[in-house]
Amino acid sequence: MGKYGKIAQLHSLMAEKKISCTELTKQYLDAIERDNASLNAYVKITPEAALETAARVDAKIAAGESIGLLEGIPMTLKDNISTKDIETTCCSKILKGYVPIYDATVWSLLKKQNAVLLGKTNMDEFAMGSSCETSCFGGAKNPHDTTRVAGGSSGGVASAVGANLAAFGLGSDTGGSIRQPASFCGIVGLKPTYGAVSRYGLIAYASSFDQIGPITLSVEDAALVYDAISAQDPMDSTSSGQKEPTVSSLGKDIRGKKIGIVKEYFEGVRPDVEKALQNAVEVFRSLGAEFVELSMPSIHYCLPVYYILACAEASSNLGRYDGIRYGYQTEHYTDRNDMVCKTRSEGFGKEVKRRILLGTYVLSAGYYDAYYKKAQNLRGAIVKAFDLTFEKCDVILAPTVPMTAFPEHYAAKDPVETYQTDICTVPANIAGLPGISVPCGFGDDGMPVGMQLLGPKFSEATLLNVAAQYEQAARETVFRPVEMGVSL
């Protein structure tokens, strides 16, 4: 294990009995109590369940049993991952009070390993947003500057992990929702290949794009968590599991690896962000990687394709929130239609309504061919373009976001302009490719900049190793811890 892995560090502290799991868990819970007020990262804290798990782990250690790497590690889940007996709301008023009767597959995998769940973290409502400000609980703040956003939609996880209020967390990435907030908060976010991690229990935004992945303090931790959650799941027929374990591939030389620079990814990137990325390129060169300049004109179609298809699926996925069976129901109504109408009008926020309407429109009989079908065809073309590109390189290096974390309320002013900030993350979701965001320095505003590495489907082992090699070489200059949370 490398020296930067937070999980490995906590694991040895516990295994060597330098700290008990209960003490460790308490430290995190105390830190959450202290710092969450300024970050709003957590929307639900679960101290009792956390301490119960911790006690179980301590009993094991006391009995002289060996513990697994993720055993006893305090962590968090985005609030769209179903947790049995723990309220799960997608940070939407319409799901307030909803307590799932089953566990998401990713959570049951971690639960079995005695990972300690500290609570559920903030997110854009139903994972729709790029700033984590559409949450019905209010926005999550950036631990590097609390006047800025944590990023969306898994902003709560990124804020919690970035502020040391959890050792790691699971987010979901539909158009960049893991990578973008990881980039804004100066930490690591991995969006796995579509299908590598089961979606069972992930409350859907756009089914053919959604993917669960780890948000961590290091690449090594991302690999560890990814290995733990990527298994073929009989409950999800689109899941295939991973191809090979990634942790064991870390540490390989990347001399001779071909890294592609696709020029379209760099259009409209803020100069200071581009400069940070240039520095990263130099680091890679010093490690012996080779660079190839490439072009993918179809990148230009990615945003419209994404917003058409994702909204279409969202309009269908969100149809079930009618107030009849669970969640919020309006108080005053005249008949069934009125009840459903008012429940949805009152329960959903503005951004969610905007996307439901957009999705309903593009699927409607008269517009299907002009929008949905055309977007589907383009999706096919984008997949092909990536296939061709990966014949010429092993990984693609790109910005994660063309800028750094926005100040608060920036997103609300112009939704379409905010959609533009997803330009670099969305293509991976369209093609189902794995992507990772790794810190690569700071902008002129002192905020973290993220570098994105993309690979072909199921290339996580390569991708994580390339990222890990960079991290080892550049960590001291690109990573800045914050004065918050638990410090061990």
Binding site: L95, P100, Y102, L202, D236, S316, R320, I324, A365
Partner: protein, 472 residues
């Protein structure tokens, strides 16, 4: 006054007899306390995903093969979006533009083929229960697998519609994919109906009558709707394209929704499921499992076994009965006797359609075969066969338990002559009458012979001998 012709097509929903639901492992059993046959998946809780039951695909392919359809090797499932409380996901998972089966037909007794446009699989919805002013939802039926069989508008009379539906019912039961119980909703259909001047080849404007769940309602609804449309057209008005509902209490159809507010289902590919692939191997495997084609078997029953058409139809109503018949009729000289045993004494003991379908008969096909063979060999007569069969049905024991050696020994010509002579001697008046020309008198003596032999005597032979004795 013009002559009007019916143009009709049926969309038939058949609930498949799989043990578990289409997307989860809940039971498909009918009934049960409300909302007890449910899980997070079939009630569409947030985050749940469907997983397709392989048996559903196999059953649908069987239905397609039995109705001469082409099987689509690359089918997929789509979402049909609409909001209704009995549909917990707010969409139904169905197949839209790439159905599993296409271009089949069902042949009617008049030789006309009713073409099938498609057969596709989909999930059933739950049901609403209206109680004391409240509406409650029961999701037990939600997620039960269905196939929808869509016919072309080839049906030209109500009789044809009935025969078509009966035929579908028989085929689906016969291949074992559904019990097709209309009273339990496992067979139901929507009727698309229009009329046109006889001889015209143009279609009139059609209406759709939803959810017919009994043959008698379907007939009444079609009669009413035909007349309504003819009345409209004859008085110079137009038929409006709309969806109608049949009201059992009034016997009328009434408007449910017009074309203007027709649903836009916003179909699109179901992203939570992978494509359905019917490989050539899988297809071969299913074909090998299929029973003989119903029509082919029917023809064989009529031609090879010499069964009357009505009997063949009765026996082929359920596959178990047909299989039983063939086993029992193996090597029998006159298979009609076996058929009569089934449609007579055996059917008399099966009160309901369900009992017939199960065909749990205490007499095994082998035992029936052995019994009828005795008749073939001349060891017993028909009336003894019948009474023995009744005893076998009462006890489940083989014929040998009820037939003594004496019963089976047969009667030698000498013995028969002796019995006849005795009978004639016992009935002097009858002999006198016979000699006086009353031929009927012989029958009374013959009766005595049959009684004395407990039915074992061959009546024709006995009659011959008696005539000889009584004439002298």
């Amino acid at each position: 006054m013009k002559n009007w012709e019916l143009v009709c097509g049926l969309e038939t929903h058949v609930e498949l007899a799989t043990k578990t639901k289409i997307f989860c492992s809940c039971t498909t059993e009918f009934g049960g306390e409300p909302n007890t046959h449910c899980c997070p998946i079939c009630i569409g809780l947030p985050g749940t995903l469907p997983k397709l039951n392989k048996a559903v695909v196999e059953y649908a392919v069987m239905a397609g093969l039995a109705t001469h359809c082409e099987i689509n090797p690359d089918a997929k499932m789509d979402r049909k979006n609409y909001v209704y409380p009995d549909l917990p996901k707010a969409y139904q998972i169905s197949e839209y533009d790439q159905p599993l089966c296409r271009n089949g037909y069902v042949e009617l007794s008049n030789g006309r083929k009713i073409r099938l446009a498609r057969i596709h699989i989909e999930e059933d919805a739950g049901k609403l229960v209206h109680e004391r002013g409240n509406t409650l939802v029961d999701y037990n039926r939600g997620g039960v697998p269905l196939i929808e069989i869509v016919s072309e508008p080839d049906i030209r009379s109500i009789d044809e519609a009935v025969e078509y539906l009966e035929k579908l019912q028989t085929i689906m039961r016969y291949i074992g994919v559904s019990d097709c119980k209309m009273q339990e909703g496992s067979l139901r259909c929507d009727v698309n109906i229009s009329v046109r001047p006889a001889g015209s080849d143009k279609f009139g404007t059609r209406t759709e009558i939803k959810n017919m769940n009994s043959f008698s309602h379907m007939i009444k609804a079609m009669e009413y709707e035909m007349e309504r449309q003819i009345d409209l057209l004859e008085s110079g008005e137009e038929v409006v394209q709309e969806t109608r509902r049949y009201d059992e209490s009034t016997g009328c159809t009434e408007e449910m929704r017009g074309k203007e507010d027709a649903n836009d289902y916003r179909y699109f590919r179901e992203p939570d499921l992978v494509a359905i692939r019917v490989t050539p191997e899988m297809l071969e495997e299913i074909k090998a499992r299929m029973p003989e084609d119903l029509q082919v078997r029917y023809n064989r029953f009529v031609k090879d076994y010499g069964l009357p058409e009505a009997d063949a139809k009765l026996i082929l109503e359920h596959r178990r009965i047909a299989d039983y018949f063939e086993k029992a009729a193996a090597g029998i000289k006159n298979p009609r006797t076996v058929a009569n045993c089934i449609t007579g004494p055996i059917f008399a003991r099966l009160a309901t359609e369900a009992e017939k379908a199960d065909f749990n008969v205490p007499v095994s096909a082998e035992n029936l075969n052995a019994l009828v063979k005795l008749l073939d060999e001349g060891k017993i007569r028909m009336n003894l066969l019948k009474s023995t069969l009744e005893k076998m049905l009462d006890t489940g024991k083989p014929a040998s338990e009820f037939l003594s050696e004496k019963d089976l020994a047969g009667i030698s010509p000498d013995e028969l002559r002796k019995i006849c002579e005795q009978a004639a001697a016992d009935n002097p008046n009858a002999v006198k009458d016979y000699r006086a020309g009353k031929e009927k008198a012989l029958k009374a003596v013959l009766g005595a012979v049959m009684k004395a032999t407990r039915g074992r005597a061959n009546p024709q032979e006995a009659e011959k001998i008696l005539a000889e004795i009584m004439s002298n």
